[in-house]
């Protein structure tokens, strides 16, 4: 029961913190570019405004268009709530292992793309096409890098994997380095950040994510945006869980939990700050360089896998 409560709170925490995280990144970028920026709360304000607004929908947009935001949002939330943020051994982690997690995100993307196709403009189709193309390359790479870890942990269950990482003696595993690199690259791509996509652009020819939700408005748009933010936070948490889980609470004691919470937030700050720095430093790459980028990620992950077999298991 206690565990279930914590699980619930943790999920809510993720959902609520997501806009703040996004806001934080935006503000950091603004500061780095010598702007004042909208402040950390700005995404929240946007969401509230959007939710209040009425919905304008393209004529002949079908029920898919109205249905998609809810699917996208719920799937993302479901995925997020399966990821242990503070407490390692959460009951829901039984529900979906890493693969299922990826699949849930894929489900969200599937409907996102359909929604893009539904309105029947060139932009929607273009966005959908590109989104699915890149994700088709990103997903295997993501799974590969996860496999590296799950192979050493002999499990795809997040809890088990974290425990394995926690209990494992601190040896330098080259495979982990590969996996981490790949995972980071994928995380950037999956969240449509620079250098793959620019969440703030509205330049028709370059946008991907924006192109699909171009026709959305009001609460639908809010849900879409929110889902995107949750996704960002989700990936950050995932990275933390898999690669630097130290300090996570293994039992549901208050002290451990608070400590874990504090550590988690700290790690988040670190990660997001790095993201902001990267986005400020880098320029968006041309559309057809993205495949090279992603296949690079895939190759790295696969190398990680091989090194795991050759160096760590084999030896």
């Amino acid at each position: 029961m206690n565990a279930f409560l914590i699980q619930f709170l943790q999920a809510v925490l993720l959902i609520v913190l997501a806009p703040l995280a996004a806001g934080f990144v935006a503000t950091c970028k603004a500061r780095l570019q010598n702007r004042r920026g909208g402040g950390v709360m700005q995404p929240w304000r946007n969401l509230r405004k959007l939710i209040a607004k009425e919905v304008v929908m393209a004529e002949h947009a079908s029920w898919i268009f109205r249905f998609a935001p809810y699917v996208v949002f719920t799937a993302t939330v479901m995925a997020a709530s399966c990821v242990p943020a503070v407490l390692v051994n959460t009951p829901l982690s039984l529900t979906a292992d890493v693969i299922a997690l990826v699949a849930l995100l894929a489900l969200a993307r599937f409907f996102l793309a359909l929604a893009g196709m539904d309105i029947g403009t060139a932009f929607g189709g273009m966005g959908a096409s590109r989104e699915m193309t890149f994700s088709a390359l990103a997903e295997p790479a993501m799974l590969m890098s996860v496999f590296v870890l799950s192979l050493s942990a002999h499990s795809t269950n997040l809890t088990t994997m974290i425990n394995h990482a926690l209990n494992a003696p601190l040896v330098l595993q080259p495979s982990l380095a590969f996996a981490l690199a790949a995972m980071v690259m994928i995380a950037i791509a999956e969240n449509g950040r620079i250098p793959i996509d620019n969440p703030t652009t509205h330049l028709e020819l370059t946008m991907i994510h924006e192109a699909m939700i171009l026709e959305y408005s009001g609460r639908h748009l809010a849900l879409m945006e929110w889902a995107a933010m949750i996704k960002l936070l989700l990936f950050a948490t995932l990275l933390i869980d898999l690669f630097l889980p130290w300090g996570m609470a293994t039992d549901a004691g208050i002290l451990a939990l608070t400590l874990a919470l504090a550590l988690w937030v700290a790690k988040l700050f670190g990660l997001l700050l790095m993201l902001a720095l990267a986005e400020t430093g880098l320029a968006k790459m041309r559309l057809f360089e993205a495949p090279e980028y992603l296949s690079g990620a895939f190759v790295i992950a696969f190398l990680g896998l091989l090194t795991h077999y050759m160096l760590e298991v084999g030896a």
Binding site: L107, F110, D118, T133
Partner: protein, 668 residues
């Protein structure tokens, strides 16, 4: 009734149908045909379930060769495939009742469709080589007549020709495999073949023969060239059966001979590797080529290749693990493959039925002319969407479960043999992931282009919803897709009889140690997945959000599209199928080798462009690099032989003369 009795009923009813249906006329013929097929499907289904739950039962009919009567046997494996066949046959039969309405000349269909079904059922329950081959070839040849059903079209005839040719090749290879087993065991009966011990050489020979035989029939790369031509041109209810079941019968044959008759004991390490590689290749290339199609049914046919590949990945992993002595994991791989078999039967059947419905009302298979059908045919769209989600391996539907199991098998595989093998296993997993993701992309394209957006032509704009029979026919598999996705824990124990008989292990206990909600292949700390919880969670969250976001009196205003200020935007501006797949075409140009032509009309001045037409054609490398060269070679030799027959009588006399001299020299 026992499983065997039901199976025989399932075989008998089609025979009856093919006997009496041609005699009748008009609607009576159609109704009888569909009714009998439905009965057959139903009894096959029940018989399958019974067979899975009970002990194997055998039957001997005094037919066939005098010293070799026909042996039939329903064991776990055949029972499972009975179930697969029945599960799709029943809805297809119902669907056909609507689909065949207004079909003028039903004659050939009424004869050969039941025979086709009979062939498949017979193969599954056959218990000796002769009976197996008899029904196998019956299946092939009757399906050939179904492929060439609309024989006025040249493409259909060509497709039929290649199809029957490859089917014959497959048949002969399989026959060769059986011949090897016969030579080793001295009997045609499976029971004896099963018992006989094979020398590695003969085992390998048999394996290669049947692997290529069944592989050809199942459309495994690179022998798949016939499949994308043959499946689309058949009537859609037939395509559903061909893609949904017939390919599975080939998988069954593979399991029966390699896993059952030869037996895991005789596996060589590279057999599994071979199957695994073939599977990965099929999975990826199948979906890659599917992405480039704009003929709806052809696209689906390519996806059959992909899914067969996925099934083979599972089986190949199983073979590897079985060889290296991990029967439990091998069983998991086997189960994964089998589970994907039934899943694919369901959603591919559903997809073809949906495509059939679209074809039925719009009269075209060309996606470029479709669009916006979700408004005209809402029910069809819904069922089609279910199938799309399932085949894209997305939770909470069934496709995901089987792919998830396959992933688990790959991940739990300990280090096997040398570096090559070690690399192959995770690589196949990666290929599986790639295939899954690409499939998702492809079905976004399909559903988006066919059902969403604006109609791209008038006759599509004037489409209407199909009748109740067809809807019902599509509803059943759609429902089953969801059920199999939600409650795998209920279904997988059913299949436990198969690994029990083939590998002498049982997953049983592990599967639901965490209760019926959680599917835990080996144990919960390894991995677990619970679709019900996930779905419940999503519904809960969704409900909350909806309730929260919909205050009273909030309404939705419909507005025009944003069109960059362009006053009028029309359907041609939408992304069509070709456009959607353009990025992937560009990325994988090395594999696909697209032939692109850009044709620009500039009547007046080279700056005044009136129209630019972009056409792209993606040929199948199997046809280009395997089929055509062989055909050329044969024709070349034929020409030479023919030339020899154009001589005068003296030449022929000289031949005889030379022959006798030669013989005398040789033997005296």
């Amino acid at each position: 009734m026992t499983a065997m009795a039901l199976a025989i009923t399932a075989c008998g009813t089609p025979l009856l149908a093919s006997a009496i249906a041609p005699a009748l006329g008009g609607d009576a013929r159609r109704s009888i045909l569909c009714l009998l097929l439905a009965i057959s499907g139903l009894s096959a289904m029940i018989g399958g379930i019974q067979g899975l739950l009970t002990e194997p039962t055998s039957l001997i009919l005094p037919l066939g060769l005098p010293w070799l009567p026909m042996h039939f046997r329903v064991d776990g494996l055949s029972a499972f495939f009975l179930l697969v066949i029945g599960t799709l046959l029943l809805p297809v039969a119902i669907y056909s009742q609507g689909y065949l309405k207004g079909e003028k000349r039903l004659g050939a269909l009424a004869v050969f469709l039941p025979l086709f079904v009979l062939g498949m059922l017979g193969v599954v329950i056959a218990d000796d080589a002769f009976t197996f081959m008899l029904f196998w070839e019956m299946m092939s040849v009757s399906s050939y007549f179904l492929v060439t059903f609309e024989h006025e079209r040249l493409e259909n005839r060509k497709a039929g020709f290649i199809y029957l040719l490859m089917a014959h090749l497959a048949g002969l290879l399989i026959l060769g495999g059986f011949a090897v087993l016969y030579a080793a065991s001295g009997s045609f009966e499976f029971s004896v073949m099963r018992a006989a011990h094979l020398f590695p050489f003969w085992a390998t020979a048999a394996f290669l023969l049947v692997a290529f035989g069944f592989g050809t029939k199942a459309g495994v790369v690179p022998m798949h060239g016939w499949l994308p031509d043959a499946h689309p041109v058949a009537p859609s209810n037939v395509s559903a059966l061909m893609s949904g079941i017939m390919l599975k019968v080939a998988v069954f044959g593979f399991l029966r001979v390699v896993w059952d008759l030869i037996g895991p004991g005789d596996f060589q390490w590279w057999w599994g590797a071979l199957v695994l590689t073939a599977g990965s290749a099929s999975a990826v290339s199948g979906v890659l080529f599917a992405l480039q199609q704009h003929d709806l049914k052809r696209l689906l046919a390519y996806h059959s290749i992909e899914n067969i590949g996925i099934i083979l990945i599972g089986l190949g992993l199983g073979m590897l693990l079985a060889h290296f002595g991990h029967p439990l994991l091998a069983a998991l791989g086997l189960i994964a493959g089998l589970y994907h078999t039934i899943n694919h039967a369901l959603f591919k059947g559903l997809l073809f039925m949906g495509a059939g419905a679209v074809l039925h009302v719009t009269g075209t298979r060309d996606m470029e002319t479709m669009g916006g059908l979700i408004h005209r045919m809402p029910a069809t769209a819904l069922f089609f969407l279910v199938a799309c989600v399932s085949i894209s391996a997305l939770p909470p539907f069934n496709g995901f479960v089987s792919e998830w199991l396959t992933f688990q098998t790959a991940l739990m595989a300990p280090q096997l043999g040398g570096a090559l093998l070690t690399a192959i296993v995770p690589f196949s997993a990666a290929m599986l992931a790639l295939a899954g993701a690409l499939a998702a992309a492809c079905f976004v394209k399909v559903f988006g282009v066919v059902f969403l957006g604006h109609a791209r032509s008038e006759h599509v704009a004037g489409a209407h919803e199909v009748d109740g029979w067809m809807k019902l026919g599509m509803a059943i598999p759609a429902l089953l897709c969801l059920l199999l996705g939600l409650l795998p824990v209920m279904f997988i124990p059913l299949m436990d009889a198969i690994p029990a008989s083939l590998l002498h292990v049982s997953l049983g206990a592990h599967l639901y140690e965490h209760g019926w909600l959680w599917l835990t292949p080996v144990d919960a700390t390894h991995a677990s997945y619970s679709a019900p919880v996930a779905l419940a969670g999503m519904l809960g969250v969704g409900g909350l959000v909806y309730w929260w976001l919909h205050p009273k009196g909030c309404r939705i205003r419909r507005g025009a599209l944003w069109s960059c200020g362009n006053p009028h935007i029309h359907a041609r501006m939408q992304y069509n199928a070709t456009a959607f797949s353009q990025p992937l075409r560009r990325i994988f140009a090395g594999v696909l080798r697209p032939e692109e032509h850009i044709h620009v009309e500039r009547p007046a001045h080279k700056l005044l462009t009136r129209r630019v037409r972009y056409t792209v054609h993606v040929g199948d490398p199997a046809v280009r690099h395997l089929y055509q060269p062989l055909a050329r070679l044969t024709l070349g030799l034929a020409k030479r032989v023919r030339h020899e027959h154009q001589r005068g009588i003296h030449a022929y006399l000289a031949w005889t003369f030379a022959t006798i001299l030669f013989l005398l020299v040789a033997f005296a």
